[in-house]
Amino acid sequence: MTHSILVIAVTALVTLVLRFLPFLVFGGKRETPAYISYLGRLLPYAVMAMLVVYCLRNISFAAAPFGVPELVSCAAVILLHVWKRSSILSILGGTVCYMLLVQLVF
């Protein structure tokens, strides 16, 4: 019980420190360094790609279903988005596509 509470406390604290770190270092009253502003502009593009790969990190191309449900559904999200540019439609469509594939096909 005590151990569990301590584990939660330490996890929460370390996560909090990690989240505050960049703001503590670069977020003062002073002007944000040009390099950090530059990262602020371009990093989101790179991070979003990294998050997509992170979500798909456990699919296996060596064993059935070879990542097909994931890749097909991601393609569906992209196609829907290029077509209508509505986030809700893209996400809903991709998710329903994935659920159908894993529940009914694979």
Binding site: V10, F23, Y45
Partner: protein, 228 residues
């Protein structure tokens, strides 16, 4: 607070609603199976508020892990949050009293919404950031609370619904791709992550990917020279 901002924030957060409810539910179920009740899962979701790390924390709680191990594991799993902060320093600059909460609540999903807000007047952005952060936090706590309350009695198959989070990231990626001519950062992120995944494997690729992305963007800035 304007009504249309609340509407915008809610609409933007709907994918997170479905994803967080489902993943929160499964977190609650897992915690329940280890003998921890609804209050435990609500407290963990309220105070830690970091999805994947909470699942890891359950393992640490059930084992006799030392607190040093806990701290180190948290650093490894959650290092990416430093990365999010780096790109939000400017956006969160003038958010006043709400700033500490906004920083605390910067999860992967909230980040994907606030780094790419819908069209709105600049003075409304602060309200949007706050609303999205609070809504996401509520979804997450609610999901995990319900999960440990209900256990595994859901009446229909929700298998695969957690793909909503992947779909959210993919749609933000597509939106960002369509809204800029400079695709180098996106391709860099994709290439670096895939390369590191192949080299370091699924459990260890995030930190090398982040370093490689930082290195790549730094080199890119040098090449761009004064323009960047």
């Amino acid at each position: 607070m304007k009504k249309d901002i609340l509407k915008k924030a809610f609409v933007a957060s709907v994918p997170v609603l479905s994803g967080y409810l489902v993943i929160g539910l499964s977190f609650g179920v897992v915690l329940q199976s280890r003998g921890y009740g609804p209050l435990w899962s609500a407290a963990m979701s309220a105070f830690i508020y970091a999805g994947s790390m909470q699942f890891v924390a359950v393992e640490l709680m059930s084992s006799a892990a030392s607190l040093f191990t806990v701290a180190l594991t948290t650093v490894m799993v959650n290092m990416r949050h430093v990365f999010y902060g780096l790109s939000m320093v400017d956006r969160y600059k003038n958010t006043g009293k709400a700033r500490p909460y906004l920083i605390f609540a910067l999860t992967d999903e909230t980040y994907s919404l606030v780094c790419n807000p819908p069209e709105m007047a600049p003075e409304d952005e602060k309200s949007f950031y706050i609303l999205v952060s609070v809504l996401d936090h509520v979804y997450w706590i609610l999901g995990s609370f319900l999960g440990s309350l209900l256990g595994s009695v859901l009446p229909f198959s929700t298998e695969g619904i957690d793909f909503a989070l992947t779909a959210l990231f993919v749609s933000v990626f597509a939106e960002q791709w369509l809204s800029t001519k400079d695709h180098v950062p996106a391709l860099l992120g994709l290439g670096a992550s895939v390369l590191c995944l192949l080299i370091f494997g699924a459990d260890n690729f995030l930190i090398p990917s982040m370093l490689l992305i930082l290195l790549g963007l730094s080199l890119y800035r040098k090449r761009e020279g004064a323009r960047a």
